[in-house]
């Protein structure tokens, strides 16, 4: 295999397709590492599938992914391994890097493989406030890559399947119970307008205020981390550790504007912030700001949008 080989891994097929696209455009070949119940992303270019037999078809454990990544790096000595920055990826990738003693970059934004053996990686630092450039000398560099950075490469066909033997090991964790979450098709990645709500929405019963605004605008509804992670009102949130959106218009309502949240919304073309606190950080990240009580302002805005028959262009 080529010396500049890139391997990719993600249990999330949307992310996997993006990583494969980047690998193909960088080296002319897209190789995917697979184990357990992970599925090959459909409709995208894949040249090789390196299949580890986990002995089951369930979601792989972090222990298994560490062994699979470690073994794949030992056998193929790739220059770069791209791992989707999911919770599983963010645990397994640094463990594999520690086990192998190879390079690791968390939250990689982009990278370049130089001819002289140098790998340059640009990563997000300080919760997305900054970007650092890392230089790794010739060795494997494992990177965790968040969603939304790279385009998938359309393609089809019959990738070459290569079995990968992984050493057996007793599981260190005994699974007692699995509680699935309902998968939500949010369509946020493609939304042209997004209403983004934060802690300014005081109770779950108040969410319709924002929903009505979103409906009037034909916008998708999204939230900041506490509403999903702490309060469980939503499945996913916008931010460095959540989803990244790039709509034409984003209305941040009752959002304080934590640095990690801004990373999820700063690709929007126009950002509007509505917040009661005139010193809220969100106003420095917005094009237009309204200091107002959202409980009074949102119904009015929704009403005016309807009366004036405002719509997305």
């Amino acid at each position: 295999m080529a010396e500049e080989q890139i391997l990719t891994f993600s249990e999330n097929s949307v992310l996997a397709a993006q990583l494969l696209g980047k690998a193909y455009r960088s080296t002319g070949s897209a190789a995917f590492v697979i184990c357990g119940g992970i599925e090959l992303p459909r409709g995208v270019r894949v040249d090789q599938v390196i299949k580890a037999d986990a002995g089951h078809a369930d979601a792989p454990s972090a222990d298994e992914v560490v062994r699979v990544l470690t073994e794949a790096v030992r056998q193929y000595a790739p220059r770069v391994v791209l791992v989707g920055a999911t919770k599983l990826g963010l645990e397994a990738a640094p463990r594999a890097a520690e086990r192998l003693g190879c390079g690791y970059a968390a939250w990689a934004q982009d990278f370049v493989i130089e001819a002289d053996g140098l790998t340059r990686v640009w990563v997000s630092v300080y919760s997305g406030m900054g970007t650092a450039e890392y230089h790794f000398a010739a060795e494997t560099v494992i990177m965790t890559v968040p969603a939304g950075l790279f385009e998938p490469q359309a393609g089809e066909g019959d990738p070459l399947g290569i079995p990968l033997k992984i050493p057996m090991a007793a599981s260190t964790l005994e699974v007692l119970e699995t509680i699935p979450r309902q998968a939500q098709e949010t369509g946020l990645e493609k939304a042209r307008a997004v209403v983004d709500i934060g802690r300014g929405i005081k109770t779950q019963a108040d969410i319709p205020l924002a929903e009505q605004l979103a409906q009037a605008l034909d916008a998708s509804l999204a939230c900041s981390r506490p509403l999903a992670s702490d309060l469980d009102w939503f499945e996913d949130w916008l931010g460095l550790s959540g989803q990244v959106v790039a709509p034409e218009l984003l209305l941040a309502v009752g959002v304080s504007g934590a640095a990690q949240h801004i990373v999820g919304i700063r690709k929007a073309r126009v950002i509007v912030a509505v917040n009661q606190d005139e010193n809220a950080a969100i106003f420095t990240a917005a094009d237009y700001g309204v200091v107002a009580d959202l409980y009074a302002f949102l119904p009015l805005l929704t009403e005016r949008l309807k009366q004036r028959q405002i719509h997305l262009p």
């Binding site: 650092a132 964790l173 004036r308």
Partner: protein, 269 residues
């Protein structure tokens, strides 16, 4: 039960500014504070100690100036803090950090359970728990929301993306605490007074842990070339209005002017 909590005084990320002209990150004057998730870690440990008894030892790596910033952790129920002074001239890289922590854990042995945050507020790279699991050979449970000790095992509810999972591991183990899990308790005046008597000991990586600089410098394998701020150019225009309705109309006019919204003209319909 010997509970070890790994906590960190992080830069207050909300206070980091970017110089718009040069793109430089302005880190000077940004205060250090015990991280949000680190308080969750302490709360998780205190709740375990209340159930099974034992001692909570906190270990931290950071500048000497951090020694006064552990008061809240001590008041919440940490018994003792060891602050390992950050080695000079070494970037605060997780690769280096886990080698220092590993040495401290060996010195404090026997340890039953190691608790840390899923990521620090400022570094936010999710590496310390996973790497430490590899270094120590202990099982790793990441993103825990609930914790129980049962005999010589720990069970935890893991908060993963598409599912939650209850898992069990034998002790000693490394457990990372999920974001916003284990809401920190309120501190009473009595707690704060008691905390003043609890020891904060400063250790040197070489003098106290026997770590030669060359041993962790080798682990680095990476050069940080340049760190720049992400410059966002936004209009930051505040909309005033005599009343909310007027502000709403003005906002709509501006968004129509930007071309992100359109107004249906009378003749259209």
């Amino acid at each position: 039960m010997n509970l070890l909590v790994l906590i960190k005084c992080s830069l207050d990320v909300a206070e980091i500014k970017v110089d718009g002209a040069s793109g430089r990150l302005i880190l000077e004057g940004v205060p250090l504070r015990l991280g949000d998730v680190d308080k969750n870690v302490v709360e998780a440990a205190v709740r375990l100690k209340e159930k099974v008894g034992g001692k909570i030892t906190a270990v931290s790596v950071g500048p000497k100036a951090a020694q006064d910033l552990f008061r809240d952790a001590l008041a919440m129920g940490v018994d003792e803090v060891f602050l390992i002074e950050e080695p000079p001239n070494i970037p605060p890289d997780p690769r280096v950090l886990v080698r220092i922590l590993e040495a401290a854990i060996q010195k404090l042995a026997p340890v039953d359970l190691i608790l840390c945050g899923f990521a620090s507020d400022d570094g936010y790279s999710f590496q310390v728990g996973p790497r430490l699991g590899e270094r120590t050979g202990f099982p790793v449970i990441s993103y825990a929301r609930e914790l129980e000790i049962e005999g010589i095992a720990v069970t935890a509810l893991q908060d993963l993306e598409e599912r939650q999972r209850r898992v069990k591991a034998s002790l000693p183990a490394v457990v990372s605490i999920a974001e916003e899990a284990f809401k920190p308790r309120r501190i009473t005046l009595m707690d704060a007074l008691k905390a003043k008597k609890k020891p904060v000991t400063i250790w040197q990586a070489e003098g106290d842990l026997g770590l030669k600089e060359s041993s962790y410098r080798l682990a680095l394998g990476v050069k940080v070339q340049e760190t720049r701020g992400v410059v966002t150019r936004r209009k930051q225009q505040m909309i005033q209005g005599d009343n909310p309705a007027e502000a709403a109309d003005r906002l709509i006019d501006l968004l129509v002017g930007e071309g992100v919204l359109a107004e249906r003209r009378r003749s259209d319909g």
